[in-house]
Symmetry: none
Amino acid sequence: MTDVDEAEQVRPLRRDAERNRQRILAAAAEVFAQRGLQVSLDEVARHAGVGVGTVYRRFADKEDLIQALFTKRIDDLAVLAEAALAEPDPWQALVSYLERMAGAMAGDAGLRQLMLFSPYAGERIAYARQKFSPSGRALIKRAQATGQARADLETTDIPFMILMLSTAADYAQDVSPGIWRRYLTLLVDGLRASRDCATPLPAPPLLPEEMQMIMNQRSPQQH
Amino acid sequence: MTDVDEAEQVRPLRRDAERNRQRILAAAAEVFAQRGLQVSLDEVARHAGVGVGTVYRRFADKEDLIQALFTKRIDDLAVLAEAALAEPDPWQALVSYLERMAGAMAGDAGLRQLMLFSPYAGERIAYARQKFSPSGRALIKRAQATGQARADLETTDIPFMILMLSTAADYAQDVSPGIWRRYLTLLVDGLRASRDCATPLPAPPLLPEEMQMIMNQRSPQQH
Amino acid sequence: MTDVDEAEQVRPLRRDAERNRQRILAAAAEVFAQRGLQVSLDEVARHAGVGVGTVYRRFADKEDLIQALFTKRIDDLAVLAEAALAEPDPWQALVSYLERMAGAMAGDAGLRQLMLFSPYAGERIAYARQKFSPSGRALIKRAQATGQARADLETTDIPFMILMLSTAADYAQDVSPGIWRRYLTLLVDGLRASRDCATPLPAPPLLPEEMQMIMNQRSPQQH
Amino acid sequence: MTDVDEAEQVRPLRRDAERNRQRILAAAAEVFAQRGLQVSLDEVARHAGVGVGTVYRRFADKEDLIQALFTKRIDDLAVLAEAALAEPDPWQALVSYLERMAGAMAGDAGLRQLMLFSPYAGERIAYARQKFSPSGRALIKRAQATGQARADLETTDIPFMILMLSTAADYAQDVSPGIWRRYLTLLVDGLRASRDCATPLPAPPLLPEEMQMIMNQRSPQQH
DNA sequence: GATGAATGAGTATTCATTCAT
DNA sequence: GATGAATGAATACTCATTCAT
């Protein structure tokens, strides 16, 4: 089942060209993960052992490289999400989903910046981000059906929780890279229905369309 | 006998100068809130309708402008924190504290950056930030003493929660500016001790010194 | 015997204006002597306890202030030169002249820069510098007449010697402010005729007109 | 096995790059010689007919450009110094040394600034400058041993003499570029011991450490 | 007349992007 | 196709000079 994106690449790249493309992606993955999206393309190129020109031959501009890189990354995450769905216990599935997502972000400064809205998130990223909706919805519905998750939780709450956790991870990455797990636990405990005292959630959740709008905005705070 | 700071301001600025100073502060407040502290002083000046030189006449450098802008803001927050402490019920005090803090940061990207990362935060900001520690500690101790808050909560968890909430607020500010309250509720429910099922917090909290280190880093990923 | 410059000042300044003028000159003398001509006029004004505007009301621009300052200073030096001329022994007179000149320069970074051709030396300075010619000539002629000074010395050599000495003074001012005296001695010993071994001076001296040209050049190396 | 510096230059620059590099060096040589090291890199670039970015591609910063330009120059001077040492007659060697040095500096304001003050002189320049000490010392000792040079002369006097002479050269460069030879002769005559009338040098010479201090100062009056 | 506020061109340096080799 | 050279706009900050108060 090919989609538009793949159709664009009708002619496969020459072997060496493809190898360079991969090298660049690998180098970019490494430096962006480690030092964030500010790293200059010159440095990415150096890291990849190619010239900047080569980077620009393979990717229209920095944004394009970032998209190519993270679209795949996010796609992988979507797979992870599916894996979480496969867990037999609905509650565990939900928790595990959040953990995997946040964990993925926690180890990748670039990915985090992208979710936190760097100026580099273009349409393809937005598109990729959408893929999470379905699994997120399913995870929540199932955990609510068993009475484990609170009833007022909504699909759109998931990206927010991940956002929050990855922010915490970002903040403390050098000092205590695992600290986000504390806050995951806090949040997760807050998600439980099995409690005499759950406070009703005060604001209405975002509608999916609103979530869409947010994701399409061009870097509100241009982190 | 007043202190140095006040002594410096003996002579009030000329009317026009004061007007420009205000214009600059207003412009800076706006652009920093909207787009973060990266905005160049040239742009602040343009926004204020003055030359850069004027900005530099009033403020020694970017950091100084930022301090002028946010020191008061942060001091006000500290007052807010004290006010929260005054609430009779310890649990309500804690919740109200988080709410006030997150609410204040919501919608001001600059303030958030300043509380979180230090690229532009000088001593006065650092000093202002420190004021929060004591009240945070007291709030938690008190809410734990009454058995309302979970025992494994630590002072250093507070800034993280505020960070997370204000990020959520930031994220959705144009679409649903109040959405962060949902996540405050989630977190707060996770903070309760009165629950049969609290999961032990997995990672150790940050030590105050570690928190200090983080705050002194000149921006984790150069946000 | 009034000259053109004084004629320009037909109307004497109001008392307070004159006082300010003097304050500015005094302040400028101090800071320029100590830290050189780079000092900003803002700082001069602050030092004088007046506003910059006042400086600009009294002096057309920085160059003008410098001229006013150093024309007088150089005039004073010319008086010093006359004093040297008064010494009974022609040789002593010459030596003392060089010493006084170099000594004056050694203590004044601004004066030195001016002699070494800062971009601020305008026509009035050039004019003032001319005043030295006559006394210089006389000093040399007399010391040659008594057979004390070597015969191939010329008037135009004098400014060069002073230039060289003040450069040495400049160079070492913080470490050994009196070091220039060593080189004065060396030069002076080189000036003596009473020696079996005087090497003939290899290059022709500058003609007075050439000296003029040099002095009028607009800061060859814009020190 | 060659050292790091050479290892870096394994791959020669592309033809066009090399051409531009040369253009930049030529332009820099010209403007620095003429107007001193203050000239901005923008101007150097303009003079070379390239963009500033190109200058920064070839040279890490201004200091680096200056080093590239003058290290060789100064090394050549050191060779010259050695050559002077090779002269059979110690007195001639000393004189010839001074002559060569002063001659080299004459007409290059940048070189002079570099030898004298350090605003832009990095380690390599500092290193290059040190090379002069030994030959200077040897020259003096030898000329004193034969009784030709006065006994109170010290190694540290040499840089001063060169400084003075090159300043004179600078001063008159357009009108009479060789005039400094007059003053060299004067000084040299003052250096002789074979004289009935040598005045004792009044101030103590600079200690080598003091000389070091001077050279490390970032420009006495910010020339 | 005095003040000090406002201006903007100028300085060193960085980096995304284009283009000659 | 690959390379890396060239470009220039952008950034924080300074200072001589002008002008409103």
